[in-house]
C-alpha cells in the first residue's frame, strides 16, 4: 500500500483551491464570450430586447406592463431570466455580453454549489482511509463541473436551463442542511420554487424533486413552523406561476411540445398501423394502436435516449444550438467513471442514496414527454449530479484499483491526467475554432453582419426593406442591434395572426417588412431592398430588368401591389447589392435592390 498524503487539506488551502477552480471555470465561461457562440440566437436576442424594453418603457414587446409571462414569439418566456438581465443591460447597454453574463455568472456560481452539495451528499461517517478519499469528492466535483462541456456551453449561451440549475441545486443544498438552521428549509424551498419562474422544464422536474424530498426525508425533517411555511410558500408561488402560464396563455405552446399534437407523427405511428389491420374490426385496431400507447412508447424511448452514451459522450442532443459538433455533453474519458460512480452509488452505503437515485430517475422526465429528446437543455437539471458521480466513480477507482497495486499506481494516474488534458485541449479546439465555423448559420452571426452592413449603407436608401422567413423572427435582431425605441416599436408593430402552434410572427415595423417574396411581382416594385436567404434566391432575381407595360401594371394591381411609383414605360431593374457571408465563407443572406429608369413610351 502506498502511503499518501491523505490528510484532509486544511480549511484555508481548500478554500484557496476552490477559488482557483472557480476562477478557472469562470474564465472558460467568459473567454471570448462575444465571439463564441457566433452571435446571439433569437431567444437570447429576445431576452435582451425585452429587458431593454422593460428598462426603457416598463412594458414588453406587446405593451404589457411588467408581465410575469412574456409572449415573445409566442413561446411564452418565463420572467426571472429577463428581469435578471435588466441591470446588466443597464450596465453594459444592449449588447451580447449583457444577455449572456447572467448565465455565465450563475453557471460559475454553480461550481461552488457543486462543491458544497457533494460535501453534503458524501459526508463520511468514520475516519478510515475510505472516508478520507471520499472527502476529496467535493473539490473534484467542483473541478469536473467547472470544466464540464455541458455546463460551459449552456453558461455561454444565455440559457434559462443553466440559470435554473443554479436555483435547483442551491435549493437542494439548503434542504439537505435543514438540521443546521431551521430556516434553511424555508430558503431552500424558496430557491427551488424560483426555478419555476425561469425554465419550463422545471415545472415538471422541480415539482417531482420537491415531492421526493418531502417523502424521502419525511422522518428527518423537524416538522415545525418553517417546514409548514415552506410547503405553503411552495404551493402559493407555484400556483401563482401556473396560473400565469400553464392554465392560460401558453396552453398552445405546451401542447405543441408533445408528439401527440403533431399530426404527421400521429398519422405515421397510429393511423397507419390501424390501417394494416384488415382482418379485425376497428375497435381491435384502436385497442393496439392509440395515442395513449404511442405516448407511453415514445416516452420510454426518449427516457432511454436521455442516458444513452451517444447523448452523454459522443454527439449530444439533436438540437444544433445546444451542442457543438463531434462532442458530447461530457468528455469521453469520463464515461467509465460515470458508470462506476452509478454502480458504486447503487451498491455502496450512502445516507442520501435514495435521493440521488431518485434524482437520476426523474431528471429525464421533462425531456421524455416532449418531442425532441434527448434534449441538452431540458436534461440540464441532472447537473451537477452526474459530475458528482463522475468524481465519486473516479476516486473510488483510484482508491480500489490503483493504490492497491503499487506497481502501476503512478503510471495510471499519470495516464489519466494526460488523457484528461488531451481531451480538454481537443474540446478547446473544437469549441473555439471549429464550432463557430461549422455552426455559424444556426447562430446570429449572419444577422449581426447583415444589420451592420445595412447601417453602413443606410439601407441603400430603400423605401421598404423586405426580409423573408418571418417564422425565423429576424425582426428581433433589428430591434436588438439597432436599439429601436421600445415605445415606438410597440406602437408601430404589425403582427401576423397566431399560428396553430401558438407562434405569432412580426409582419412589419417602421419600413421593415417580414414576408415571403414573390419573385415575379415584387421585383417590379422600384426602390425596395429584398433580403433573402441565399439558398432561396432564384438565379434570375439578381439581375433582371422589366419594362412596365399596362399588362404588367394590371397584374400588379390584381395582386394588390402598390403601383403608385410606376408608370407605363418605366424600366425596373434589380441589382445584387450584397452578400452576407459567414466566417466559414458560406453566404447566408443575399441583398437585392430594385431601381427604376423612366423612359418615354406610349
Amino acid at each position: 500500500m502506498v502511503k499518501l498524503h491523505l490528510k484532509y487539506l486544511p480549511m484555508n488551502k481548500r478554500r484557496f483551491l476552490l477559488i482557483v477552480i472557480f476562477l478557472l471555470g469562470f474564465f472558460v465561461r467568459v473567454y471570448h464570450i462575444e465571439q463564441v457562440p457566433p452571435g446571439l440566437n433569437r431567444d437570447e436576442a429576445s431576452i435582451g430586447y425585452t429587458a431593454y424594453s422593460l428598462l426603457m418603457s416598463g412594458k414588453d414587446e406587446y405593451g404589457k406592463s411588467w408581465p410575469v409571462s412574456f409572449k415573445s414569439f409566442g413561446d411564452w418566456k418565463l420572467p426571472l431570466y429577463i428581469y435578471t438581465t435588466i441591470p446588466f443591460v443597464k450596465l453594459f447597454g444592449l449588447t451580447d455580453i449583457a444577455v449572456r453574463l447572467p448565465s455565465v455568472l450563475f453557471g460559475s456560481f454553480t461550481i461552488f454549489i457543486a462543491y458544497f452539495l457533494s460535501r453534503e451528499l458524501f459526508r463520511g461517517q468514520g475516519k478510515n482511509e475510505f472516508s478520507l478519499w471520499m472527502k476529496k469528492i467535493p473539490i473534484l466535483s467542483a473541478f469536473i463541473f467547472a470544466l464540464s462541456p455541458w455546463s460551459i456551453h449552456l453558461s455561454r449561451t444565455g440559457s434559462e436551463a443553466n440559470f435554473a440549475v443554479f436555483f435547483t441545486s442551491l435549493g437542494l443544498l439548503l434542504h439537505l442542511r435543514f438540521n443546521r438552521n431551521k430556516w434553511n428549509i424555508l430558503f431552500g424551498t424558496f430557491f427551488l420554487v424560483l426555478s419555476l419562474y425561469i425554465y419550463h422544464a422545471n415545472h415538471i422536474f422541480t415539482l417531482l424533486l420537491f415531492l421526493g424530498l418531502i417523502v424521502i426525508y419525511w422522518r428527518n425533517y423537524k416538522r415545525g413552523l418553517s417546514f409548514w411555511v415552506s410547503i405553503f410558500i411552495y404551493i402559493i408561488l407555484s400556483l401563482f406561476i401556473y396560473s400565469q402560464t400553464l392554465f392560460t396563455a401558453d396552453k398552445t405552446k405546451i401542447s405543441g411540445l408533445f408528439a401527440t399534437s403533431d399530426l404527421a407523427l400521429v398519422y405515421a405511428n397510429v393511423t397507419l398501423n390501424r390501417l394494416q389491420h384488415t382482418k379485425f374490426p376497428n375497435t381491435v385496431a384502436s385497442f393496439f394502436h392509440n395515442k395513449l400507447l404511442y405516448t407511453a412508447e415514445y416516452t420510454i424511448r426518449n427516457y432511454i435516449k436521455s442516458y444513452s452514451p451517444e447523448f452523454l459522450f459522443i454527439n449530444g442532443g439533436d438540437n444544433t444550438q445546444h451542442n457543438i459538433p463531434d462532442f458530447g455533453n461530457f468528455y469521453l474519458w469520463e464515461a467509465p467513471f460515470l458508470l462506476l460512480g452509478v454502480a458504486y452509488l447503487i451498491s455502496q452505503k450512502n445516507q442520501h442514496k435514495n435521493l440521488l437515485i431518485y434524482w437520476l430517475l426523474i431528471a429525464p422526465a421533462a425531456a421524455s414527454i416532449t418531442k425532441d429528446a434527448p434534449h441538452t437543455a431540458r436534461m440540464a437539471v441532472v447537473m451537477p449530479l452526474l459530475e458528482i458521480l463522475i468524481a465519486y466513480g473516479f476516486l473510488s477507482f483510484i482508491r480500489i484499483y490503483v493504490f492497491n497495486k503499487k506497481k502501476y499506481s503512478y503510471l495510471s494516474i499519470f495516464t489519466l491526467i494526460i488523457l484528461f488534458i488531451f481531451n480538454f485541449a481537443i474540446w478547446n479546439d473544437q469549441y473555439f475554432i471549429h464550432f463557430p465555423q461549422t455552426r455559424a448559420a444556426t447562430w446570429g452571426e449572419g444577422y449581426t453582419r447583415l444589420i451592420a452592413y445595412l447601417n453602413q449603407n443606410g439601407d441603400f436608401g430603400a423605401s421598404e426593406v423586405v426580409m423573408t422567413r418571418p417564422e425565423y423572427s429576424p425582426y428581433i435582431y433589428f430591434l436588438f442591434y439597432n436599439k429601436i425605441d421600445p415605445i415606438h416599436f410597440q406602437d408601430s408593430v404589425v403582427r401576423y395572426a397566431q399560428t396553430d402552434e401558438g407562434f405569432q410572427h412580426v409582419a412589419k415595423f417602421d419600413n421593415y417588412y417580414f414576408r415571403n417574396i414573390d419573385w415575379t411581382d415584387d421585383l417590379v416594385i422600384p426602390n425596395n431592398l429584398y433580403i433573402a436567404w441565399s439558398d432561396q434566391v432564384p438565379g434570375s432575381a439578381t439581375n433582371s430588368a422589366v419594362l412596365v407595360t399596362s399588362a404588367v401594371l394590371q397584374q400588379l394591381r390584381n395582386n394588390n401591389k402598390d403601383t403608385s411609383n410606376l408608370k407605363i414605360g418605366d424600366i425596373v431593374f434589380t441589382q445584387k447589392v450584397g452578400d452576407i457571408k459567414l466566417q466559414n465563407g458560406d453566404s447566408m443572406f443575399t441583398l437585392i435592390k430594385t431601381s427604376k429608369i423612366s423612359t418615354e413610351l406610349n
Binding site: 435516449k305 452514451p309 459522443i314
Partner: protein, 551 residues
C-alpha cells in the same frame, strides 16, 4: 455432483421448447432464402457433386462467393442435409437450427462449470439455457444460415471442453478441434476465438502446466487443422482477410474526410504541428471506435431498435427482451458483489465479442457481436435467480415476471412469426423462388432472360432453384471479377441468363430492348408500367417483380 431427474426433465422441456422455436416452419419463416443463404446452399451442392465450389476451386478453404469470401464450414455442414433432403430451404437452414439447439444444451453445462463454486449453479444453468432458448437474438440466427450461429456453437464447445479437460485430459483435443473449426465458420471469430483462448490459457495456466504433453499435442493438432487456411493465405490473402478488410473502419473514408474538413477550418495560417496535434488519426479513430463500441451497449439498440441491417432485424424490436436487460445488469452487480469465481471471464467474453465489431462500420451490428449472447444469458440467469431469492413476496414476483415475460415473448412471436414474413418479406429477398418457377415453366419460349441485379444476387437463385449442374456453371459463368464499391463481384450471365448491373429499365425499354427476351424487373424500377406479362407479389400484396416479354 449427479444431476437430479428433475433437472434432466427441466432441461428436456427447455430443449423441446427450443426445438419447436427453431424447427417449426423452418422453410417458410423467414419467408425466403437470403442471397447469402442461397449461395452457401448451392456451394454445398456444388462441392457435393463435383468437389469444387461455384468458382471451380477444389475443396475451398474460403468461398469466394460474391467476392465476400465466406468462411466455408457452414456450407460443408450443409452437404449431408442437401444429400438427404435435396436442395431446399430446409436443408440449407437445418445445420444452423441444429447447432443452435446444441448450443442451448452446451450453455447449460458450461454455466455449471463457470459457476462451479455456486450452490445454485444448476438452477442458474437451467435458466441460462432457458433464456437462450427463447432469446430473439438466438432464434433469429438459428433460423437462418448466416455463419455466426455455427461459430458460436464451436466457440462454446471449445470453452466448455477446455474447462472439462482439467478433469479429463483428452478433452483438450476436442477443445483444440472446436477452436480451429470456429475459425473456419466466421470472420469475427478469427479475432474473438484467439482472444478467448488466450484468456482461458491465462486463467488455467497452472492446469495447463500440469498436462504439458496433452496440451502441446493438442496445440499441434489445432495448428494442423488451421494449416490449409494458413497455406492458402500465401497465395490468396483474401482467404483470411476477405470481407473483414472491406468492412473495417480503416477502409471507410469517413474519418479521413472529417479530418481534412477540420484541418481546412483551421485556416492557412495555422501551424502544421498544431493542426496535427488536434486532428490526428489516433484521436479521431479512437473516438469513432469508442462510439461504435458504446453503440452496442445502447439500450435503445438492445431493446427497441435492433440491428439496422435488414436480415438481422426483427420489426420494431431489439435483440433482448426488456426484462432481460434488467436481469443482466443485476447479474453483473451480483457477479462482482459476491465475487463469483470466473466473473472476469464472463465479462471478458462480452467485451471480446463486442470490441472487434467496434472496428467495423455500420454499427451497431448484432451478428458481429453475436458471441455476446452466451455471457448475456448467463448474466440474466444469475440476476433472476438472485432477484427471486431476495424478493419476499414470491407469488407476486413470480406472477409479475411471468406476465412480463409472456407479454414480451408474445410480442416477439407476433413480430417475428407474423409481422416479419407478412410485411417485411422484402428484407429477405423475397420473390426469386416464384420468379424461377415462372421462368422454368415459360422461359423455354425465349432466347434471352434478362435479370437486372437487384434485391440480392439473382444468378444464385436460378442456380439453386433449377439445381443447375455445377460443373457446367463452373465453366460457363461469365465472371469479370470486378468488385463494385461494396466489394461485391457480379456474375454477368450464364446459359441464356443475363444479369446486368447498373440496369435502368426506363432507359432500356425505350432504346435498347433485345428481341425474343424475357425481362424480370424489380417493381420499384417499373412502377408505372402496366403492360407486364406477370407480376410476382409480396405476401402483403405489393408487387415485388414485374415480368415483361419482348418478342
Amino acid at each position: 455432483m449427479k444431476l437430479s431427474d428433475k433437472t434432466y426433465f427441466s432441461l428436456f422441456i427447455i430443449i423441446i421448447l427450443a426445438a419447436l422455436l427453431r424447427f417449426m416452419w423452418l422453410g417458410k419463416i423467414p419467408s425466403s432464402l437470403y442471397s447469402d443463404e442461397t449461395d452457401q446452399g448451392y456451394n454445398a451442392y456444388s462441392i457435393m457433386l463435383t468437389g469444387k465450389d461455384e468458382h471451380g476451386v477444389h475443396l475451398p478453404v474460403s468461398l469466394r462467393s460474391f467476392g465476400d469470401w465466406k468462411p466455408p464450414l457452414p456450407s460443408y455442414l450443409m452437404i449431408p442435409f442437401v444429400r438427404l433432403l435435396g436442395l431446399s430451404e430446409v436443408s440449407v437452414r437445418l445445420p444452423s437450427a441444429i447447432l443452435g439447439l446444441f448450443t442451448i444444451i452446451l450453455i447449460f453445462y458450461l454455466t455449471r462449470v463457470l459457476l462451479r463454486e455456486q450452490e445454485n449453479r444448476t438452477k442458474i444453468a437451467l435458466l441460462s439455457s432457458y433464456f437462450l432458448a427463447i432469446s430473439p437474438w438466438h432464434i433469429l440466427q438459428s433460423r437462418a444460415a448466416m455463419l455466426v450461429i455455427v461459430g458460436l456453437f464451436f466457440l462454446t464447445l471449445g470453452v466448455y471442453t477446455f474447462f472439462k479437460s482439467i478433469e479429463k485430459k483428452t478433452l483438450i483435443f476436442i477443445s483444440a478441434f472446436s477452436f480451429a473449426l470456429s475459425v473456419y465458420s466466421y470472420y469475427g471469430l478469427r479475432i474473438v476465438a484467439p482472444a478467448i483462448l488466450l484468456a482461458l490459457l491465462i486463467r488455467c495456466r497452472k492446469n495447463v502446466l500440469y498436462m504439458k504433453k496433452e496440451f502441446i499435442l493438442s496445440a499441434i493438432f489445432g495448428l494442423i487443422l488451421l494449416l490449409p487456411l494458413l497455406l492458402s493465405f500465401k497465395t490468396q490473402p483474401d482467404v483470411v482477410l476477405g470481407r473483414a478488410r472491406t468492412v473495417s473502419i480503416f477502409y471507410d473514408q469517413g474519418v479521413n474526410l472529417r479530418k481534412w474538413e477540420l484541418t481546412t477550418q483551421d485556416g492557412i495560417s495555422a501551424d502544421t504541428s498544431v493542426t496535427r496535434f488536434f486532428h490526428n488519426n489516433f484521436y479521431m479513430y479512437s473516438r469513432s471506435i469508442i462510439q461504435r463500441f458504446l453503440s452496442h451497449l445502447d439500450i435503445s439498440y438492445l431493446l427497441f431498435v435492433g440491428d439496422g441491417y435488414q436480415p438481422f432485424q426483427i420489426p420494431q424490436m431489439g435483440i433482448l427482451y426488456i426484462p432481460d436487460l434488467l436481469f443482466i445488469l443485476l447479474g453483473l452487480l451480483v457477479l462482482y458483489k459476491y465475487k463469483y469465481r470466473d466473473r472476469s471471464l464472463i465479462v471478458y467474453w462480452v467485451f471480446a465479442s463486442i470490441i472487434p465489431a467496434a472496428f467495423t462500420f455500420v454499427t451497431p451490428a448484432s451478428n458481429r457481436t453475436f458471441n455476446a449472447v452466451v455471457p448475456y444469458m448467463v448474466l440474466a440467469a444469475i440476476g433472476i435467480v438472485y432477484a427471486v431469492a431476495k424478493i419476499q413476496k414470491k407469488v407476486f414476483a413470480a406472477s409479475f415476471l411471468t406476465a412480463f415475460y409472456i407479454f414480451s415473448f408474445g410480442y416477439f412471436m407476433h413480430q417475428y412469426f407474423i409481422d416479419l414474413p407478412t410485411y417485411h418479406a422484402d428484407w429477405w429477398n423475397y420473390g426469386w423462388k416464384q420468379v424461377v418457377e415462372y421462368v422454368n415453366s415459360q422461359g423455354v419460349k425465349y432466347k434471352n432472360i434478362v435479370v437486372p441485379e437487384a434485391n440480392g444476387m439473382p444468378y444464385v437463385y436460378f442456380l439453386f432453384y433449377q439445381k443447375y449442374p455445377p460443373e457446367i456453371f463452373q465453366n460457363n459463368a461469365i465472371r469479370p471479377y470486378m468488385a463494385d464499391r461494396f466489394g461485391f463481384e457480379n456474375v454477368e450471365g450464364f446459359d441464356k441468363y443475363l444479369f446486368p448491373s447498373e440496369f435502368d429499365w426506363n432507359f432500356i425499354k425505350r432504346n435498347n430492348l433485345q428481341k425474343n427476351s424475357l425481362y424480370i424487373i424489380p417493381a420499384y424500377q417499373a412502377a408505372d408500367d402496366k403492360n407486364y406479362l406477370k407480376a410476382i407479389y409480396y405476401p402483403n400484396g405489393k408487387i415485388a417483380f414485374k415480368i415483361f416479354a419482348y418478342e
